[in-house]
């Protein structure tokens, strides 16, 4: 049953990606623009611009351009970037791991902090602890990520010097040998504890900033689920039977309370990927957020398409994993 569900989802994913690629392609070509001229520069001759248009296929009918794109895509070729002067695949190879690392760091923080906070707030409902958690989660929901990023830099770098202001490593530090592209993982695999600590130190502040909003959402969701679960008859029954408070919470209440939170984790990935754009700019984090911004402004069609498809792929795959975890947590769930 699980295998059937996964196969169905993967088939659906392909349809989603094709539909998304079509919509994004058409929308990006509807905007009046001349990326060939932008690429060639203001002083390039008309002949030079025409040559570039021909080289990149911009002079073909739009249907032919889309067909070419799909044809290249099946070979894993996203085409050439006008902004970076490189194959888009090379750009994704460089920038995507940075964003994945940042997003994973943010999600780990959100889960590690948000869920316990929500549990505590739910268990000690209407106490000082609960009020504190609700205040913090309110702040997390209200503060825009870019403002929080600037504030965090001001306080934790400029004043306290606890964390660095930017980048993935110290200046002139040599990145670890690439295996995953995530500096934290790769430095561990290379058994370079110093580099691991350095990469973690650089990751800490931007991922905390990015994950603050998700932490707030998770904390509130878990709190509400805990309160709801604690009010159920089975909890009263368990307590009446003499089961200890801790055992009731951990064995009976928590598992049920985490179900909505599991779904939320999957949905939060989308907002984290979107929020990564602003955080990457403030912290000079070389991820696809910054790359996508430049691509959109330059109407670098190939890069825009590639980033859109990759983001969609990540989102769908993460939610697939979430659904599998959901099934594991609640055997009653059948897709």
């Amino acid at each position: 049953m699980l295998a059937r569900m996964i196969v169905r989802r993967l088939a659906f994913l392909i349809l989603v990606l094709i539909g998304l690629s079509f919509i994004t392609f058409m929308l990006s070509h509807v905007v009046p623009a001349d990326p060939a001229r932008l690429y060639a520069g203001p002083r390039a001759s008309g002949a030079a611009v025409a040559l570039i248009r021909h080289q990149f296929g911009f002079d073909l009918p739009i249907w032919a351009q889309y067909a070419n794109f799909l044809g290249n895509l099946k070979d894993g070729n996203f085409g050439y970037s006008l902004v970076s002067n490189r194959p888009v695949a090379a750009d994704l190879h460089d920038y995507l791991p940075a964003t994945i690392e940042l997003t994973l760091g943010a999600m780990v923080m959100a889960i590690a902090v948000g869920i316990p906070l929500g549990v505590i707030a739910g268990v000690w409902n209407r106490s000082w602890i609960d009020y504190g958690v609700r205040l913090i989660s309110g702040l997390g929901l209200a503060m825009p990520a870019y403002w929080l990023a600037l504030l965090a830099q001001l306080i934790f770098f400029d004043h306290l010097r606890w964390f660095p202001a930017d980048s993935r490593l110290d200046p002139a530090a040599i990145p670890p040998p690439r295996i995953t592209g995530l500096y934290t993982i790769d430095s561990l695999l290379a058994w370079d504890p110093g580099l691991f600590v350095q990469s973690l130190w650089h990751l800490a502040l931007p991922s905390a900033v990015l994950g603050f909003g998700a932490t707030a959402v998770l904390a509130r969701m878990v709190r509400a689920s805990m309160i709801d679960a604690l009010a159920q008859d089975y909890v009263r029954t368990a307590r009446a039977k003499g089961v200890g408070r801790r055992a009731v919470i951990i064995r009976h209440v928590l598992r049920n309370a985490l179900l909505p939170a599991t779904t939320l984790v999957g949905l939060q990935i989308g907002s984290l990927l979107g929020g990564a754009l602003l955080v990457e700019n403030i912290f000079s984090w070389p991820g696809i957020g910054r790359y996508a911004t430049a691509a959109v402004f330059a109407l670098d069609y190939n890069a825009v398409m590639a980033v859109t498809l990759v983001a969609a792929l990540i989102f769908v795959m993460v939610n697939l994993v979430v659904d599998v975890v959901y099934m594991a947590l609640d055997p009653r769930v059948v897709y």
């Binding site: 001349d34 203001p42 009020y131 205040l135 504030l151 000079s284 330059a298």
Partner: protein
């Protein structure tokens, strides 16, 4: 365990308010607390380790090929890993010093230039030594590749591989066919002049690309620094090239770190904390705030950029009276004050004040709505007329401010300014497109700078009638027969004629028949560590720093 009781908002409100107040106090206290002394690790490293300089910029280098790169960050790397035949001497845009050429001579009318090359110049590719073949191929391909920089030397040579002659292994001759007194200045440009390893370039030619794809990402130069590492969108590290012909005696940095930091706030924090030695393009407010910091120096050398509003010489603005009226309409004082906070000055014509041929006595338009009203009437533009303006695309100083001021001024005359905001690609599509004049916006913002110290190079692409788009950059479709005649005379003129013609041209374009509302000449505000020496600003490459000349 008790069930949930009725929610009591008073129980929550007071503690929540107290908590928020306490949190705010803590955050405020931290924010205003005195910062740790800036003799931190970063500044301490900079003062004890004279080997490394760190420059933080908001641009990201993308392309190392001189034939195609047109961005400052890319040209900055090229400037330090490559060498030209000649270079501007320090901050001068007139004096030329020998680099890979040790001497040169020219004939009487300056149409033939002969260069004698330096012996024993090694390339970073490992090959020694540079010969005349490398010069011919490096410079010729910038024209024949037809990429962004092809016009630079293409003005002097249409058949570079027959006009650049290899006389012997260390002698190369340029037969330009016409008198070209400013040819040396063009060769000193870091956008096209670099000499690369031709053998490696030729070995990597793919599909007639002249080695472009290879040169984009590889170091083929013979300059003082090699490209040690390059993490795209993050940083490039340049290391000392031990075999550099210029040697390493004296104080020189052994390592250069060029970091991409998009946020102005972060760049400011890095320079204040000592983790960077050099930065630029901060906001005007940041520059002002840093003026009082004794750990850094804020300098504002003049560049050669000009910002202006091009007025479409057609339709409603076909009459010179209409364009004179607009020139009287704009509020220049308010704009300069608001946009630059003292770091810029007005422009009055098509030439920046630092360039050869600039007329310091040319006519200056001042804001005068009475004169503007009378001239609009003369041009047949009455109250109730709507003019169009295309904004955005990152062009012009302080986007948003220019059109807002213009709109407010025109409103006082009963004229509506309709503003269309577009991104960079949309801007390129509209202004370089082939739409007829009637469908083009009446006005659009432009930023421009010269490639070398030549008024013809600066003005011809902007104002010559033949340079109208598509294919040209006369974005206002300006056409004035007298201006065209002067430009034609200037193309192969000697220095005296060049200056005389430039003065006449400025009189026409700044007073009689203005093609643009000339706005400003921004200075290149740069923040450097107080202990950084040897920083020279050349207006023709204002942010193309020569790291080899710098030291702590």
């Amino acid at each position: 365990m008790s069930g949930p009781s009725r929610y009591d908002s008073r129980r929550f409100a007071r503690p929540a308010l107290r908590g928020a107040f306490a949190l705010g106090l803590i955050m405020g206290a931290v924010a205003v607390a005195p910062r740790p002394a800036t003799a931190q690790v970063g500044r301490a490293v900079a003062s004890t380790d004279n080997g490394t300089i760190t420059y933080v910029t908001d641009e990201t280098p993308l392309d190392l090929d001189p034939a195609s790169n047109s961005g400052s960050a890319s040209a900055l790397i090229s400037r330090n890993i490559d060498d030209n035949l000649v270079a501007f001497d320090g901050a001068s845009i007139d004096a030329i010093r020998p680099v890979l050429a040790t001497s040169w001579s020219t004939n009487a009318d300056k149409s033939v230039w002969t260069f004698h090359l330096r012996h024993g110049v090694s390339f970073h590719t490992g090959r020694c030594c540079m010969t005349a073949d490398d010069v011919q191929y490096s410079l010729g391909r910038t024209v024949t590749a037809g990429l962004a920089a092809s016009y630079l030397l293409g003005r002097f040579m249409t058949k570079p591989f027959s006009q650049i002659k290899v006389l012997d292994q260390y002698t190369v001759e340029f037969d330009l066919g016409h008198s070209q007194p400013i040819f040396l200045s063009a060769l000193a440009s870091y956008f096209t002049g670099p000499i690369l390893d031709a053998q490696v370039l030729k070995a990597h030619v793919v599909k007639n690309d002249w080695g472009h794809n290879w040169a984009t990402g590889h170091d083929l130069g013979a300059g003082p620094y090699v490209l040690q590492s390059w993490v795209h969108n993050q940083q490039a590290v340049l290391a000392q090239f031990p075999a550099y012909w210029g040697g390493w005696s004296g104080p020189h940095f052994s390592k250069v770190i060029i970091r991409t930091v998009p946020s102005s706030t972060t760049r400011r924090e890095l320079i204040e904390s000592g983790q960077a030695d050099l930065t630029n393009d901060l906001t005007a407010q940041d520059n002002q705030a840093l003026q009082g910091n004794t750990q850094v120096k804020v300098v504002s050398p003049p560049g050669t950029s000009i910002h202006y509003i091009a007025m479409t010489d057609a339709g409603l603005l076909a009459s010179p009276y209409a364009r004179q009226a607009l020139s009287y309409t704009f509020n220049y004082d308010a704009y300069i004050k608001a946009a630059f906070h003292g770091y810029g000055r007005r422009a009055y014509g098509p030439l920046p004040s630092t360039l050869l041929g600039y007329d310091p006595h040319m006519f200056h338009y001042q804001t005068d709505l009475t004169k503007a009203r009378a001239l609009f009437q003369k041009a047949g533009i009455s109250s109730g007329t709507t003019l169009t303006y295309i904004a955005g695309g990152g062009v012009g100083a302080t986007p948003g401010l220019v059109e807002t001021i213009l709109q407010a001024q025109l409103a006082q005359l009963g004229i509506t300014l309709k503003i269309q905001y577009v991104n960079a690609s949309g801007y390129a599509s509209i202004v370089f497109g082939s739409e007829p004049a009637a469908k083009r916006p009446n006005m659009l913002p432009v930023s421009w700078y010269p490639d070398y110290n030549d008024p013809y190079d600066e003005i011809q692409p902007l104002l010559e009638a033949d340079q109208a788009p598509p294919g040209g950059t006369n974005l206002g479709l300006y056409h004035n027969a007298q201006v065209d005649a002067l430009l034609k005379d200037m193309k192969y003129a000697n220095r005296e004629t060049l200056i005389r013609d430039a003065y006449q041209l400025q009189d026409i374009t700044s007073r009689v028949d203005p093609p643009c509302i000339w706005l400003d000449e921004p200075t290149a505000v740069t923040v450097l560590a107080a202990n950084l020496k040897g920083v020279l600003f050349n207006p023709l490459g204002i942010d193309l720093f020569n790291f080899y000349a710098m030291h702590h």
